[in-house]
């Protein structure tokens, strides 16, 4: 076998592996959607996960949002000052945050915090036979572990995004007030001068898709964990990497869809 053909073989095998992975994750996600509509609905578990994923992510999201707001404000000021458009700083920052920066950064942070946790937790349950123990105990492990997490993260993601947006606007205000002494009331009014529902709703609701992707991918990787603790670590890492990549890729499609259905924001 020549080195070239060996390389082609490896690339082909890699590509096939990638297709197989995407197919398996898609089938897993589709099953989660179908199972979500069937009883039992596991409301206790869903509420518990919303608390775990949502409420317990709040400090991270608020702190990150505030910092992003400060940084965006400084950059926006540096750019708009050149054109004498400092008055547009609050509106520019709010549009950037609400339409794209807030949802995307919130999703990437949640992929890091929650995605890694889901991958590791379900992976550890797999290698210690806890998933088998659930099944042997007449509990649908897929529904109990995966579907509840998918639904919970689809609920938590938009809420966390709204927190991120407001923390960012607050951070922007603090940065702006330190430079120009602008009042909160004035900053808030200017922030929402050009913001419409078409800016807020589609951008916030697209994070439902991000939540689905993070939970479905991480649960899948947890359920398919092998090789003991090493496999658990790998599931955790891959959950973050694959979720983050899918969030960014799906964002391209979702933004295009938003522009199609809401041409006024394009």
């Amino acid at each position: 076998m020549t080195p070239q053909s060996s390389m082609v073989d490896r690339a082909g095998a890699g590509l096939l592996g990638a297709f197989e992975f995407v197919g398996s994750v898609s089938a897993f996600g589709a099953r989660a959607v179908v199972e979500a509509a069937r009883p039992p609905y596991e409301p206790r578990e869903i509420i518990r996960h919303v608390y775990q994923f949502g409420y317990r992510s709040t400090p991270l999201i608020v702190a990150a949002g505030f910092a992003v707001g400060v940084v965006l404000s400084m950059h926006t000021r540096a750019s708009l000052e050149r054109f004498g458009a400092e008055a547009m700083i609050p509106a520019g920052l709010a549009i950037a945050l609400i339409r794209e920066t807030g949802p995307l950064i919130a999703a990437l942070l949640v992929a890091g915090r929650v995605g890694a946790g889901i991958g590791a937790e379900i992976g550890a349950m797999k290698v210690t036979e806890q998933i088998d123990a659930l099944e042997a105990g007449a509990v649908d492990a897929f529904k109990y572990l995966a579907v509840t997490r998918v639904i919970a993260l689809m609920i938590a993601m938009p809420l966390l995004t709204i927190m991120m947006d407001f923390a960012g606007i607050l951070g922007g205000y603090v940065a702006e007030a330190a430079v120009s002494g602008m009042s909160w009331q004035q900053y808030f009014e200017r922030s929402f001068t050009y913001i419409t529902y078409a800016d807020i709703f589609p951008a916030t609701l697209k994070t439902v898709v991000f939540g689905f992707l993070i939970a479905a991918v991480s649960s899948y990787l947890g359920f398919t964990t092998t090789r003991g603790t090493e496999g658990v670590g790998e599931a955790s890492t891959r959950s973050v990497v694959v979720s983050s990549m899918l969030i960014i890729l799906s964002d391209v499609v979702l933004v295009k869809l938003i522009f199609f259905f809401y041409p006024q924001v394009a």
Binding site: M125, Q130, D132, A136, G137, A138
Partner: protein
């Protein structure tokens, strides 16, 4: 009536044959010990009973229902009649010991929270762990985990208890305590199917025995039959005193 019946069950993983035309029966209310060296497919056979593994061919009957033909709610209904004690107990590590035992009751009964707590406490008391109710599994020793796993497996008073290597990794005294609990469970009318490579332990628990090797039963029957077997592997196995 047979509680469990294997009917010509074969199972292959990849190119490796794990079970090869395996057939045996376990009468209701008795204890059957499936013996064999590590890696001979004993645990795989046990998992067939609860439907965690499906055979490539053959059938597994549990209380005259073919579990290999069941799925979804029907399989879940069949599983409710069985308890499973895993080799490493497989306690849910995000729940306290008490919640582990209460979990099957919360899932499958409409008992009140107070009633469930009371029953879980009694199940733990039966295995001598009532004081560990609020502890987390990580805080328990290996033997205590196994006892807690047994309490969880017995939470719904199953008619069949499946036990995977009850004495593995335990000191002889703790292993003896687990054996005594299993004998007590059998005396209460529960059918036991125990997978083990510990012969002294099996002699205490079992009524009938089977020796599995290469996916096939080399010998089966009461202990006298196995002791009298001329099969070299069975002889070597039955004369061994080790295990655990």
């Amino acid at each position: 009536m047979n509680a469990v019946r294997f009917d010509h069950v074969s199972k292959t993983f990849g190119t490796q044959t794990i079970l090869d035309d395996l057939s045996f029966e376990v009468p209701a209310g008795s204890a059957f010990c499936l013996l064999g060296r590590s890696g001979t497919g004993k645990s795989v056979a046990l998992r067939h009973i609860v439907g965690l593994v499906h055979p490539d061919s053959g059938h597994v009957f549990v209380e005259d229902r073919d579990v290999t033909a069941l799925a979804g709610r029907d399989l879940a209904a069949a599983r409710r009649h069985m308890g499973f004690l895993f080799q490493n107990a497989a306690l849910f590590d995000s729940m306290s010991v008490g919640d582990n035992v209460a979990f099957p009751m919360r899932r499958h009964t409409d008992w009140s929270d107070a009633d469930i707590r009371d029953r879980a406490m009694r199940k733990l008391a039966d295995v001598g762990l009532e004081r560990e109710f609020d502890k987390m599994p990580a805080d328990l020793s290996g033997g205590m985990k196994k006892r807690a796993g047994l309490a969880r497996a017995l939470a719904l008073d199953p008619s069949i208890l499946l036990v995977d290597e009850p004495s593995a990794g335990l000191d002889p005294i703790t292993a003896g305590e687990i054996d005594a609990l299993l004998v007590k469970t059998k005396q209460a009318g529960t059918t036991l199917v125990v997978v083990t490579h510990n012969i002294p332990s099996a002699r205490v628990i079992g009524d009938t025995f089977g020796v599995l090797h290469g996916g096939r039963l080399l010998a089966a029957g009461p202990i006298e039959t196995l002791d009298a077997s001329e099969e070299p592997m069975v002889q070597a196995f039955m004369r061994s005193h080790g295990g655990g």
